[in-house]
């Protein structure tokens, strides 16, 4: 860290929220809903999950409260920031039909105001970079995604308390945020190290009651990052598993994992990089219009590979293989890197606790990281 790093007292975070609001941003931040930490509208620091920690393991996610003074002493919840750019459901266009049967098509314009997300983790910034590549870096660009993305301001938080399911250090995506944010925080016991990156971030920072961080505070921040790396035990057996996966398309493990996998698609629903979506028409009851809507889809569904009256990936082994060979393999050719950012969500939220790092190691061999 550099001289640019400032220190903000814990209560000073309220000034940041107010500063954002004054600058016209609607703010969302992590909060507890139904036993999990998710993003929701926030106007006061008291809404943050202060004193909470999470315990995650394959198929398990549990929150616990103690007298820890921190607000970000947990890893990540089921929901990434994906829904704020790639909406879970979105109308693409509407068709209007008049009495003569003539059709008119009107585009659905996504009209959202500036949005600030507080508490974004490094893995989710990496996932956002990948989704940007998918939706924006090739023609045609996705208008809904673009409209939301342009309005986004991101306040990142460096991870100090990775869960047992996290392996971002092995994918190179965390636990420190290194790009893609406007402001980054490192939480210490009494306050935050705070640093601006974008012009907007620096401007906001200038209005906050900060003071230069001390050497001791900086060292503490660095030390916590090192600890966060040291605490991670899971890892993928290599950065690019494409060759290894495609050389093992007939590995017995695919059938074996299929016996455990429910083909429920939870893993794809929580994955911050999954981009599949299905389109469908929703006619209005009066028969004069119909909305063409898209919704998140999963490669674990029957319909995903449906063609001409049959399902190409009829069984779970084929679907799990599609998911893993795509996520850890084909992404390299499509987007220049693996589609996994090491967030571990698919491990925690799999109802039967399937761990992709374990499956990958079983199939590819336990290579060098």
């Amino acid at each position: 860290m550099t001289d640019a790093v400032q220190y903000l007292e814990r209560d000073g975070l309220q000034d940041l929220i107010q500063g954002l609001q004054k600058a016209g941003y609607h703010c969302v931040g992590p909060q507890i809903r139904d036993g999990a930490i998710v993003y929701d509208s926030i106007s006061h620091v008291d809404q943050l999950p202060r004193g909470y920690s999470d315990h995650q393991s394959p198929g398990q996610y549990r929150l616990q409260q103690d007298d820890n003074p921190r607000c970000f002493a947990w890893a990540n919840g089921p929901q990434a920031i994906k829904p704020y750019v790639f909406a879970a459901e979105e109308t693409l266009w509407r068709s209007l039909r008049d009495t003569a049967g003539e059709l008119q098509f009107t585009e659905h314009v996504v009209d959202v105001g500036p949005l600030a997300i507080i508490g974004v983790r490094a893995c989710d910034l990496a996932a956002l970079y990948l989704q940007d590549k998918h939706f924006l870096h090739a023609e045609p660009r996705d208008p809904g995604y673009l409209a939301r993305r342009q309005q986004l301001l991101l306040v990142a938080v460096n991870c100090t308390h990775p869960a047992a399911t996290c392996f971002c250090a092995s994918t190179g995506d965390g636990p420190r945020a290194t790009y893609g944010y406007d402001i980054v925080l490192s939480e210490l016991d009494a306050g935050y190290l705070i640093e601006g990156r974008s012009q907007q971030g620096l401007t906001l920072l200038a209005g906050l009651p900060t003071r230069p961080a001390t050497q001791g505070q900086l060292e503490q921040g660095d030390e916590e990052s090192h600890q966060a790396v040291a605490h991670q035990t899971r890892r993928l057996p290599g950065h690019n598993l494409k060759q290894a996966l495609f050389a093992n398309l007939n590995h017995a493990r695919w059938e074996e994992v299929a016996k455990r996998c429910l083909s429920c698609g939870n893993c794809t629903a929580v994955c911050p990089t999954c981009f599949c979506h299905a389109e469908q028409d929703r006619p209005a009851l009066d028969g004069t219009s119909s909305d063409h809507v898209r919704q998140w889809d999963s490669c674990f569904t029957q319909g995903h590979s449906y063609i001409h009256g049959f399902t190409l990936r009829a069984n779970t082994a084929q679907r799990y293989r599609q998911w893993l060979t795509h996520k850890l393999g084909s992404w390299h050719d499509q987007y220049g890197r693996s589609g996994c950012v090491g967030c571990g969500r698919c491990i925690s939220w799999c109802p039967v606790g399937i761990d992709l790092t374990e499956e990958a190691a079983a199939i590819c061999g336990d290579g060098e990281p």
């Binding site: 693409l92 266009w93 068709s95 039909r97 049967g101 003539e102 059709l103 008119q104 098509f105 585009e107 998918h134 939706f135 090739a138 045609p140 660009r141 996705d142 208008p143 673009l146 495609f246 398309l249 981009f275 599949c276 979506h277 299905a278 389109e279 469908q280 028409d281 006619p283 028969g287 119909s290 063409h292 898209r294 889809d297 490669c299 319909g303 995903h304 590979s305 449906y306 063609i307 001409h308 009256g309 190409l312 990936r313 069984n315 082994a317 084929q318 293989r321 599609q322 060979t325 795509h326 393999g329 084909s330 390299h332 050719d333 499509q334």
Partner: protein, 277 residues
């Protein structure tokens, strides 16, 4: 920025029943400026939208120089295609496109050509055959091979008969099950491969249809010494967006909707024929 998902209104100019399950919709964009600006290449496809039901990818069978009308030959098999099958002249639908990469027609010039289709998937290659036959002098020996299950699945009989009359052109048709007065081969299309006429040094093979059939063609051609670079296939998968976003058409690292639907065999040989992809 224009919304890439937005269809344009088109009118059904004519509907032709080709066989019990195949029909052709002849379409024209209702906005003349849209119609005039529209350009496509054989092998590309459009997304056809049926009001209140949804969209479906359909390859374009007309010739790019027939600017008046866009033909789509459709097999009635799902919700959208069954609905499209009920349309009549004057009805309106939505159309967006064209999408994907078509056949390598420039590469094919001056070379011998083998076009193979099987099953009911003949539409994408009919566009290429039409294209070649109308510019016959630009190509070497042309072989047109088609296999169908039942003789009555065979459509566009007159066109094949016409093509057969063209110079230096071989038409080979086979039906697994014949019918009275069926003039062509009864049996498997592969039985006819020995009759193909081409110079393996300068041939280009284009095929479409069931992947099992294309596998057999690829094997046969490779055994004849034809290189992987000279084998071209039109692939099909579930397609919903047609612009590389929805993820349904992925085939390994390829998006069939934008990297295909026509592929050089060299580019898909690692995955071709692997069940589940």
């Amino acid at each position: 920025m224009t919304n890439p998902y937005l269809p344009y209104e088109a009118e059904v100019i004519e509907r032709i029943q080709e066989s019990p399950t195949l029909f052709t919709l002849r379409l024209r964009f209702t906005d003349p400026s849209v119609h005039d600006a529209y350009r496509f290449a054989p092998g590309q496809f459009n997304m056809l939208y049926l009001y209140g039901v949804g969209e479906v990818p359909i390859s374009i069978v007309s010739d790019p120089i027939d600017e008046q009308i866009l033909d789509h030959t459709i097999r009635s098999v799902g919700r959208v295609t069954r609905g499209l099958s009920d349309l009549q002249a004057g009805d309106r639908i939505g159309v967006r496109g064209p999408y994907g990469r078509g056949w390598p027609l420039t590469v094919a010039e001056q070379r011998d050509v083998v076009v193979v289709t099987g099953g009911l998937g003949c539409a994408p290659v009919v566009s290429v055959i039409n294209y070649i036959m109308r510019r016959r002098e630009r190509f070497g020996t042309v072989n047109i091979v088609q296999g169908v299950k039942h003789a009555d699945d065979f459509i566009w009989r007159e066109r094949y008969e016409q093509w057969q009359q063209a110079p230096d052109t071989k038409v080979l048709i086979a039906a697994d099950l014949g019918m009275p007065l069926w003039p062509w081969h009864v049996g498997h299309v592969t039985d006819l491969f020995d009759e193909l006429q081409f110079d393996r040094e300068r041939v280009i093979v284009m095929m479409c249809g069931p992947e099992g059939m294309m596998r057999v063609v690829v094997n046969h051609m490779q055994a004849q010494g034809v290189g992987d670079d000279d084998l071209w296939l039109s692939m099909e998968r579930n397609m919903q967006c047609a612009v590389g976003h929805c993820g349904h058409c992925q085939y390994g690292d390829k998006f069939i909707c934008k990297d295909g639907p026509v592929f050089c065999y060299r580019d898909i040989r690692n995955l071709f024929g692997v069940k589940g992809f």
